[in-house]
């Protein structure tokens, strides 16, 4: 059999792969194209060539104040991720470097909280938010997103920290490093890549969270998910403007996502697939 891949084989595989990739990417591509069309163009039938107007982007900002939900998304996603990291790093650290017999059970239990369906606690959470005046506030939603992503953050950090070999820490101790020096010179530099990918992945998850962000906000703290969802009942024809808003909502996270593909797999499978 042919060990050397024939050129023909490669060309066929390439065409097939690009075709599949194009079909999968098409809805996103078409959204971007439509966002560059005028409204009449957008409903005038299938066309891949827009007139190239940026008017829709300007309209979305002037008419719907796009910047506010965008900033809310940034505040909520980044804020909740950093908060989760601050809480999770010590926990993941302790579990990775001084594991006990119960460490595994604790990790499993943490993951199980992630499996609690959101709707099951919708009523009490909604009532609590209402009674404490947290509805439609940044602080309320940030805490919410922190809590729902905390188990994943602990898990991801744990799988990364566990890969730092114990012998290196011992070597540092033999070399005369004290606890503080061990943390500054050896542990932190080795842990930073894992923390960075956890940060990245969690921002993506928080940015796209679409249950609590929609249900617990109205305007003040509403992020892009709620902003876009509010377009579901159309007021007249608005294809092009909707596309512009959608493009702006997904663009930043799409780009972040492209950078994090590799970490995505091990992060979301809790290290089960690498």
């Amino acid at each position: 059999m042919a060990r050397v891949v024939t050129r023909q084989h490669k060309v066929i595989a390439t065409i097939a792969a690009w075709l599949v990739a194009f079909l999968i990417f098409f809805p996103i591509l078409y959204t971007i194209i439509t966002s560059l069309k005028t409204e009449p163009e957008a409903i005038a039938g299938f066309s891949l060539i827009p007139s190239g107007t940026f008017e829709n982007y300007i309209t979305v900002q002037t008419r719907n104040d796009y910047i506010r939900p965008f900033m809310n998304s940034v505040i909520l996603a980044v804020g909740s991720t950093i908060l989760a990291l601050i809480i999770a790093i010590p926990a993941a650290w302790a579990m990775a470097f001084s594991p006990t017999k119960r460490t595994k059970d604790v990790l499993m239990w943490m993951l199980s909280t992630k499996m609690m369906p959101a709707v099951a606690v919708l009523v009490p959470i909604y009532l609590m938010f209402r009674d404490f005046g947290l509805l439609d506030t940044h602080i309320g939603l940030t805490v919410m997103l922190t809590l729902i992503n905390l188990p994943i953050v602990v898990w991801m950090l744990y799988t990364y920290f566990r890969e730092i070999p114990g012998e290196i820490l011992e070597a540092a101790r033999m070399d005369g490093a004290g606890l503080w020096q061990e943390i500054v010179y050896v542990l932190t530099p080795m842990a930073v890549p894992g923390i960075a990918s956890t940060l990245l992945l969690n921002i993506i998850l928080a940015w796209n969270e679409s249950f609590w962000t929609i249900r617990l906000t109205t305007t003040t703290a509403a992020p892009l998910t709620a902003f876009i969802a509010s377009f579901s009942s159309p007021q007249g024809l608005f294809w092009a403007k909707l596309s512009a808003a959608s493009t702006m909502a997904i663009a930043p996270i799409l780009i972040l996502g492209w950078f994090s593909q590799k970490q995505l797999v091990r992060g979301l499978t809790f290290g089960a697939v690498k």
Binding site: D175, V186, P189, M190
Partner: protein, 332 residues
Amino acid sequence: MGSITLNKVSKSFGEAKVIPSIDLEIVDGEFVVFVGPSGCGKSTLLRLIAGLEDVSGGKIMIDGKDVTDNAPAQRGLAMVFQSYALYPHMSVRNNIAFPLKMAKVDKAAIDQKVTDAARVLNLTDYLERRPSQLSGGQRQRVAIGRAIVREPSAFLFDEPLSNLDAALRGTMRLEITQLHHQLKTTMVYVTHDQVEAMTMADKIVVLNRGNIEQVGSPLDLYSRPRNIFVAGFIGSPKMNLIEDDYARSKGAKTVGIRPEHFTLSRDSGLWSGTVKVAEHLGSDTFLHLDVDGIGHINARCDGEFGARHGDRIFLTPNETKLHRFNEQGLAI
């Protein structure tokens, strides 16, 4: 200076007693090898000396000073780990300089020492690289370099060659031995490979199940094993251990004969047997024989002895070189 004394040192992990009680004297400048099968406690013993594990009982003295409760860094020892344990985010230069930086040595002196160590270890061209850009042997040298610059009173090696391929292992074995001649510092070396033990050690400590079976020079252990375990562990091919009538006729429970202590002949001898496999190494030939009434025997003969599979051969043990062992497995 680097003499190390272990006084009734013991270690348990929970219920499991890994090391019941060990007394050992390591003289300054010696190359001592701890050897034994896996799980014999040799690595644990090294880590106790290093201070990476706490003893459960007994005392460890370095240069006559009790260091049992001292942190690893205060013991003045350097260690080379099995995985090398290089800091992946630091250049070779910074890896080697790290212990000096921790000891707050001034910058000029650090540079000088790192340069010297790099020259000794042929690492000068690689100083700015990261460990991940080095080959296995080079990483090994960096780990040694990191140990050298501290000018420790003793070096500890934990199976340092087990991740290298056979050819490189031979080279590194030689380099470490040369380094010892050059530095004349105490070295404690852990391995499961008896060849490394025989070729490098001034003194071998054979361990089994947490106990010292025998301490002595390589040739000591080879020619005067104290018991069956040492006899079987040291030497390759393995010593033949024969029980039954022949052993009884020599007044022993078991008799041991090294493969080279046979006289082989085509036509006459005490025993006869069939060649199962003949391994021709050029200078030597190893014969795996099925001897009538005895069983499997390893014999070594010179390269010109042209035995082949299926040949009938006569062999006579050299009676002056017999090792005799009693019921308890101890040498008589």
